[in-house]
């Protein structure tokens, strides 16, 4: 229900630059996933929008209004913290009720009860409502933490790795639920994750951060297929993109220093010989670890491949990405 704009935002913590002149427009109602390694500035970006930290330079706009000087409570944002930050002396129910009991909202009792029950149901913690927050497992705490954001109806959701300590099944369930809730409420959602499946399946936009700089911003598909640099290319894709010297295959354009090949972009059965080092059967597909001219690379193949380690196959690049010496992609 609100557009978020960061304009030339810079933030320094004790000499370390956390955000370096970041400009970013998060469209109204979009689901934006921020990617990047630890220290890239993902969490700092969320804290800028929430108001927990203020930019050293630059401006943050929510719904077109500059929010400098507005406390988090005045911004109508809900945040899920990476370290959960539950109220330790309260029960799960009281934790979930806490935001609704804000005098700013004046939520009637029945509505609080209904909302808490609803959210607890979605997050599969209804049976834990009367437990103390400290008597929960990590995954349960994390779900309560998500729930505390979901009971509200904020303009913006900010979520810092909200599914990181859940098991695979629950994670898959909640990916769908979060996407559904966000779509239904129309709220803007900023989401930090390391998990590329979350990024690919949930995001309408992906922002790639590196050392405080926004490297690329676009749809997950665009970032995957048209990465601006080696760095952006390695953020998405599992197994990772293979990056090799450009001259390893013929046909590299002028100025190319390296060639990037996604595992599925290595065509098999034609081209040059590569040695199969290891074969990993994953059930739905098979990963091949190859050695090609002293370089390791990974590709995927049919689930029922008869190939075995030690054999040789022929490979050639398909839809290669070329990068210059600085790691930027050549158009």
């Amino acid at each position: 229900m609100a557009e978020v704009v960061l304009e030339n935002v810079t933030k320094t913590f004790a000499g370390t630059v956390a955000l370096d002149n970041v400009s970013l427009t998060v469209p109204d109602g979009s689901f934006v996933v921020l990617l990047g390694p630890t220290g890239a500035g993902k969490t700092t970006t969320l804290r800028m929008v929430s108001g927990l930290d203020t930019p050293d330079r630059g401006e943050v706009y929510i719904d077109g209004e500059p929010v400098k000087g507005l406390a988090p409570a005045e911004r109508n944002v809900a945040m899920v913290f990476q370290q959960y930050s539950l109220y330790p002396h309260l029960t799960v129910r009281q934790n979930l009720e806490f935001p609704l009991k804000s005098p700013l909202l004046k939520t009637p009792r029945e509505q609080i009860d209904r909302k808490v029950r609803e959210v607890a149901e979605v997050l599969q913690i209804a049976h834990k409502l009367d437990n103390k927050a400290t008597a929960l497992s990590g995954g349960e705490m994390q779900r309560v933490s998500i729930g505390r954001a979901l009971v509200r109806d904020p303009q913006i959701f900010l979520m810092d790795e909200p599914l990181s300590s859940l098991d695979a099944k629950l994670r898959a369930d909640l990916r769908i639920e979060l996407k559904r809730i966000q779509a239904r409420s129309g709220a803007t959602l900023l989401y930090v994750t390391h998990d590329q499946i979350e990024a690919m399946t949930m995001a309408t936009h992906v922002g790639v951060l590196n050392e405080g700089k926004l490297v690329q911003f676009g749809s997950p598909r665009a970032v995957y297929e048209q990465p601006v640099s080696v760095y952006a290319a390695t953020r998405l894709g599992q197994p990772r993109i293979n990056v090799l010297p450009a001259d390893i295959f013929a046909g590299a354009p002028l100025g190319a220093a390296s060639i990037g090949l996604r595992p599925e972009h290595i065509q098999q059965g034609a081209g040059e010989d590569a040695l199969v080092k290891r074969v990993e059967h994953l059930g739905d597909q098979t990963r091949l670890h190859l050695t090609f001219r002293k370089h390791d690379l990974i590709t995927v193949t049919d689930a029922h491949t008869p190939l075995r380690g030690g054999e040789t196959i022929k490979i050639q690049p398909l839809k290669p990405l070329y990068f210059d010496a600085a790691g930027m992609r050549l158009a």
Binding site: S50, G51, L52, A71, P72, A73, N76, V77, A78, M79, F81, Q83, S85, L86, Y87, P88, H89, F98, P99, S102, P103, L104, L105, K132, R148, R152, L158
Partner: protein
């Protein structure tokens, strides 16, 4: 409790070690280790306690060792409980106890709350504030008698300066209506830092991320204070009250040094009164009964309190 400790020690003893000490099982080895403490405890705590209870039923006087000791039943207890003067000392003690705790908790928590805010030099301020409790009670009592001195005392001067009253028109120690407050002020001055330190430990144990979550949940500072700060500091605060309560129930040195129980017997707290009975009037049996009554009172109050404390902690 003791048995379970022994079991635990026995369980924790490496098997090979136990084997090497021939003829001793893990269990007896464990008993051997705790035996010195048990013996010491029995000798200096348990035995005197039992002996005191025995003496409390007699007319024994320690300054007349050759006189015949008679068992007089509950007579000591009955005469203590029906003694109006003793009830007055109990009242004085209760007055002292309640006001020192109320003031020390209020001021101590407020100071801790302020010191906990990040500002330049708060470590230095903490050190300065904590100084009074590092002094000896005898010293504190002695120099406060100077501060309270009507003609030259700084306290009287300060009160006079602030209110316009004549500094020598009142005596904190000499006036019947002021003396109870004189001892409360000094005890508060001396021991508020202790309460502050415990509150500070409590405040510092609350992670800042909880306040950040509350900020995002749109809780005002006021609501954060009442729904997060207070409940999370409460167990610490109650512990401070327990410590101060027990300490002040047996308050002796500071008050003896300041007022000596006077004027009259208006600041004569139970421990001072008890000491008079035992070591000035030498009524040993009577004083023993007195001590038993005080012991039961403190023990009873403390156990109720500790139960409440555990409840708060579990919440």
């Amino acid at each position: 409790m003791l048995k379970s400790t022994v079991d635990r020690v026995a369980g924790a003893t490496p098997h090979a070690l136990a084997k090497r000490v021939r003829g001793l099982s893990d269990r007896s080895l464990a008993w051997l280790f705790v035996a010195p403490s048990i013996v010491l405890l029995l000798a200096v705590n348990i035995f005197p306690l039992i002996w005191t209870v025995r003496l409390s039923f007699t007319n024994f006087r320690v300054n007349r060792p050759n006189a015949e000791v008679q068992f007089i039943g509950l007579k000591n207890y009955l005469s203590i409980l029906s003694d109006k003067d003793i009830w007055l000392t109990m009242q004085a003690t209760a007055h002292f106890l309640i006001w020192t705790i109320v003031l020390q908790v209020l001021i101590g928590f407020s100071l801790a709350y302020l010191i906990n805010k990040k500002f330049r030099g708060n470590d230095l301020w903490t050190t300065i504030i904590v100084l009074p409790m590092m002094l000896s009670p005898a010293v504190v009592g002695n120099f406060w008698t100077f501060l309270y001195q009507p003609q030259i005392g700084l306290f009287n001067y300060a009160v006079g300066f602030l209110t316009g009253a004549d500094p020598s028109s009142f005596s904190m120690i000499g006036d019947v209506s002021l003396a109870p407050w004189a001892i409360i002020i000094v005890d508060t001055w001396m021991w508020t830092p202790f309460v502050m330190l415990i509150c500070l430990a409590g405040l510092r144990s609350i992670p800042s991320s909880i306040y950040e979550a509350a900020e995002c949940d749109r809780a005002s500072k006021w609501r954060q204070f009442w729904t997060i700060t207070i409940p999370l500091v409460l167990p610490f605060l109650m512990l401070a009250v327990l410590f101060r309560g027990i300490e002040n129930f047996k308050m002796f040195d500071l008050v003896v040094q300041l007022t000596g129980g006077g004027p009259g017997s208006i600041t004569e707290l139970t421990s001072i009164n008890l000491k008079r009975e035992a070591f000035e009037k030498w009524r040993t049996g009577y004083a023993s009964a007195y001590a038993v009554i005080l012991f039961v009172t403190v023990f009873g109050l403390a156990s109720i309190y500790v139960k409440a404390l555990n409840k708060v902690k579990q919440r």
